[in-house]
């Protein structure tokens, strides 16, 4: 008998009977195999999400005037050109200064307001607390355009104090930014409050501290990282904000970097210095958010809590 490979008997013995022959290759059907399709989708998504931004940053170093064709590397749009570069052209420096000024003011006002509101809302039970909780959520669930239009109308149409005292420009811009930032501060501080739990305060009270003392000496230090993180987040939100800031602006002096981008991104005469100013804005935002993330993580680790890997990042984005 010739031992050919097509011998029927040996083939049936060699193959386990339960497995159905599949039209698909094994690496595709194996449930314990690597999820190649998902991995590919994810990496392609990440490339699609980030590479255009990197290209825009790269174009700020373009040697020519074009923002879409690469003409060689230079730093002329950053500092080389004495009139048109980002650090010499007053249009860009003024917008950068104004953006930073607004961000600092919004941060200084929204953080304490939101912090107190978060503590108050988490303990205040009784008449009005439900409505206050609802009110806090309104800015998060309204399109920014609706908020901007409503603020514009109230500042220009309502002849009652305090609205008559508020004019479009820096004051109105800060008020608008603070209004939508408060909710973010509340969300971040409350999620930290929920993590801490009532035990520490109860212990302080058992040991004889008054409500005020336990608040001041126990809760406040524990909440400090969340307060710092939310301050940095407000800073980043303010720097990136466009709609409310544009509606509340009055003249060229109250132009911010996002407003410059909106006005000039399509213009043919605009130089790569616009990309440079946008790059500065992105870097400043990322420093703020990165700082907030590190603060939350560092304190999370040192207070001995088992935080999930995404905990701090989720806190920053307001997702429970």
């Amino acid at each position: 008998m010739s031992a050919t490979a097509t011998e029927p008997g040996s083939a049936t013995v060699a193959r386990p009977p339960a497995v159905r022959p599949s039209r698909w290759p094994a690496w595709l059907t194996n449930p314990w195999g690597r999820p190649r399709f998902l991995a590919l989708t994810t990496w392609v998504y990440i490339a699609w999400a980030l590479l255009p931004v990197l290209a825009a940053i790269l174009f700020s170093f373009n040697d020519g005037r074009s923002r879409s064709v690469w003409q060689g590397f230079s730093t002329r749009w950053w500092w080389g050109d004495p009139d048109l570069s980002v650090f010499h052209n007053p249009t860009y420096t003024d917008a950068l200064t104004h953006s930073l000024e607004l961000a600092a003011l919004a941060m200084l006002i929204a953080t304490p307001l939101g912090f107190l509101l978060a503590i108050g809302l988490s303990r205040w039970r009784g008449r009005g607390s439900g409505s206050a909780n609802f009110l806090m959520l309104v800015p998060l669930t309204t399109p920014e355009l609706a908020m901007a239009v409503s603020l514009l109308l109230v500042f220009t149409q309502l002849s009652v104090l305090p609205f008559t005292a508020i004019h479009l420009g820096t004051t109105a811009q800060v008020i608008g930014q603070v209004t939508f930032s408060i909710s973010y501060v509340v969300v971040i501080v409350r999620s930290r409050l929920a993590q801490i739990g009532p035990e520490y305060e109860e212990a302080a009270r058992d040991l004889g501290a008054s409500t005020r003392q336990s608040l001041q000496h126990v809760l406040l230090p524990m909440l400090l990282p969340a307060v710092l993180a939310s301050a940095l987040i407000v800073f980043a939100l303010s720097i990136d904000d466009f709609v409310v800031t544009q509606y509340m602006s009055s003249s060229g002096e109250t132009t911010t970097v996002p407003m410059l981008l909106y006005a000039n991104a399509r213009g043919g005469a605009t130089t790569p210095a616009l990309n440079a100013v946008a790059t500065i804005m992105v870097v400043v935002t990322l420093i703020g958010v990165g700082g907030a993330y590190l603060v939350l993580r560092w304190f999370g680790r040192h207070s001995g809590e088992q935080q999930k890997q995404s905990g701090a990042m989720a806190d920053l984005t307001g997702i429970e």
Binding site: P31, P35, L38, T41, T42, A49, L50, P52, A55, A56, R67, S68, V69, L113, L116, L117, I119, G120, L121, R123, G126, A132, L135, M136, V138, P139, T141, P143, E144, L145, A146, V149, S150, L151, L152, L153, V154, Q157, L158, P162, G176, T179, V186, A236, I239, D240, F242, Y262, A265, R266, N275, A278, T279, M281, V282, T285, S310, M313, T317, E320
Partner: protein, 293 residues
């Protein structure tokens, strides 16, 4: 009790701020929408509901239905937002799923990378695409190289607008979906597989229903701002052909002397969104009831 006073006292500054700059302005929109117009074409708000003039609100509501002045904006909004949500789901769900299933260093790195676009300014991300989609930009160059030809991407092209909206809003969709998928108890999926469900059946009967609330949350998170979006269109298209409702509102309020009608359009926008939000609340309620049962 003094303690209750303390908590309320802490909340009061924030509450007063929100009353002044959220509630009063919201009523100002209503008062201008139901208001009058003076001889200089300036809006005159009417604060007393008994004296309201319904003309502008009527005009706005009859404008957004088929045959009205703003119907094309309504149609574009529904079409673009619907397509964008579908694309965000098709691209974002696999990404969120993959990252949620990972662990260790790779997960940390991927999380960082998918969180990154969230904090790159929206306008910067649009600026990036304007450079790439320009007539002499690299997208056209690649298409020309492939022999597909040259397209005017930035001149009233609805596909560019939809692509830009998807690019702009997808990070806001991925994050809640990721958080939802990450919370799913793996034992439930293992149990379904142990009980003989196929991989596809497990996904359809266990994973997808469990992540449904977070898909809805992600959808709400991107639909709300898209209804007020005028800048994406202005930057990527610049043509009235692709106008959305946000553009109509922006043109009426900031562009011209029709603030009354603009305010009435804001009311229309909020009505459409309120219908959507009511569905969302009803659906999440139903989910919660089912989870308890």
């Amino acid at each position: 009790m003094a303690e209750r006073g303390l908590w309320r006292g802490l909340a009061i500054p924030g509450v007063v701020w929100l009353l002044l700059f959220v509630v009063v302005p919201a009523y100002a929109v209503v008062a201008v929408a139901f208001g009058k117009i003076d001889t200089l074409l300036q809006p005159v708000p009417v604060w007393n509901p008994l004296d309201w003039n319904v003309g502008f609100v009527k005009e706005a509501f009859s404008g957004v239905i088929p045959g009205g002045t703003y119907w094309s904006a309504t149609r574009n909004t529904l079409l673009y937002v619907g397509t964008t949500v579908a694309l965000c789901f098709a691209i974002g769900y696999p990404v969120a799923y993959y990252v949620a299933r990972l662990s260790g260093r790779t997960k940390g790195l991927l999380l960082l990378l998918i969180f990154l676009p969230f904090w790159v300014s929206y306008l910067m991300r649009m600026l990036a695409w304007i450079g790439l989609l320009a007539p002499n930009g690299y997208v056209n160059e690649v298409l020309g190289f492939l022999g597909i030809g040259h397209t005017d991407w930035l001149d009233g092209n609805p596909f560019s607008v939809i692509a830009a909206l998807t690019y702009g809003y997808i990070p806001y969709f991925i994050l809640p979906v990721y958080a939802g998928l990450d919370r799913i108890d793996m034992r439930l999926i293992e149990a379904a597989r142990d009980l003989g469900a196929s991989r596809i059946r497990t996904f359809l009967r266990v994973t997808l229903p469990l992540s449904w609330p977070s898909i809805l949350a992600g959808t709400v998170l991107i639909v709300l701002p898209m209804f007020g979006d005028y800048y994406t269109n202005d930057l990527i298209s610049g043509s009235p052909n692709t106008n959305m409702l946000g553009n109509s509102v922006n043109l009426l309020v900031q562009g011209g002397s029709q603030k009354n009608l603009g305010a009435a359009m804001v009311l229309v926008l909020m009505t459409i969104l309120a219908i959507g939000m009511l569905y969302y609340l009803w659906e999440t309620n139903r989910q919660a009831r089912r989870a308890r049962a």
